[in-house]
Symmetry: C2
Subunit: 93 residues, 2 copies
DNA sequence: TAAAAAGGTTTATAATATAAACCAAATTTT
DNA sequence: AAAATTTGGTTTATATTATAAACCTTTTTA
């Protein structure tokens, strides 16, 4: 049986990637609302995806408030697609 | 976003369930070979699925050797199918 | 100006997965 | 016929992970 990339096989990280696969970019606040996660957990998981090179993270300002924008990288897309392929063999889809 | 049943969202438990969804029953040795897991890990995860009522486990003898036979329950089938549904929304399948 | 909210990060804790060590019975080797 | 190995597991320890709690700084509101 195929391996399931452990970096993607985590509910929150998978949710983040899933969202980012469908949009150009998404900011911290949007990801938090969509995933219904705590800020702490989200921050940690964003870091891990970023460290793995699956997403890029730009910390900037929106007016006077900080704004963290994420988007998926080529590597991230590839990893996500491979993960989906592997999962399909588990779920017979 | 939907919750992913944490009992099923584990590589090895998902692999076990995936196998059992496609056969009448499977024994410990067969599951170990198919999943390429260690005996210890397999034993633990079988227990968890069993405690959750997702599989039944019969410990008997085959000739002079012990034999542990597993099969999925109705509850297990239902949980698996719900898990697959939830996952689909993450993977857009 | 004091209090609360926004947007996060860091640190501590609880849960999980995994492997290592172990056990008893059966089989094989010497 | 001992001794060593294999089979079929279980139990316990360890390393990783996920998660939440506590915290920080700046901005906004009361």
């Amino acid at each position: 049986m195929k391996e399931l990339n452990p970096l993607l096989h985590s509910q929150l990280r998978l949710a983040i990637m899933s969202i980012l696969m469908n949009v150009e970019e998404a900011d911290f606040v949007y990801l938090k609302e969509k995933t219904e996660s705590t800020a702490g957990n989200l921050s940690v998981q964003i870091d891990k995806l970023s460290s793995a090179g699956y997403i890029t993270v730009e910390k900037g300002m929106s007016g006077k408030r900080p704004r963290t924008i994420c988007s998926v990288t080529e590597d991230g897309i590839k990893a996500f697609e491979e993960y989906v392929d592997a999962l399909k063999s588990y779920l017979n889809l």
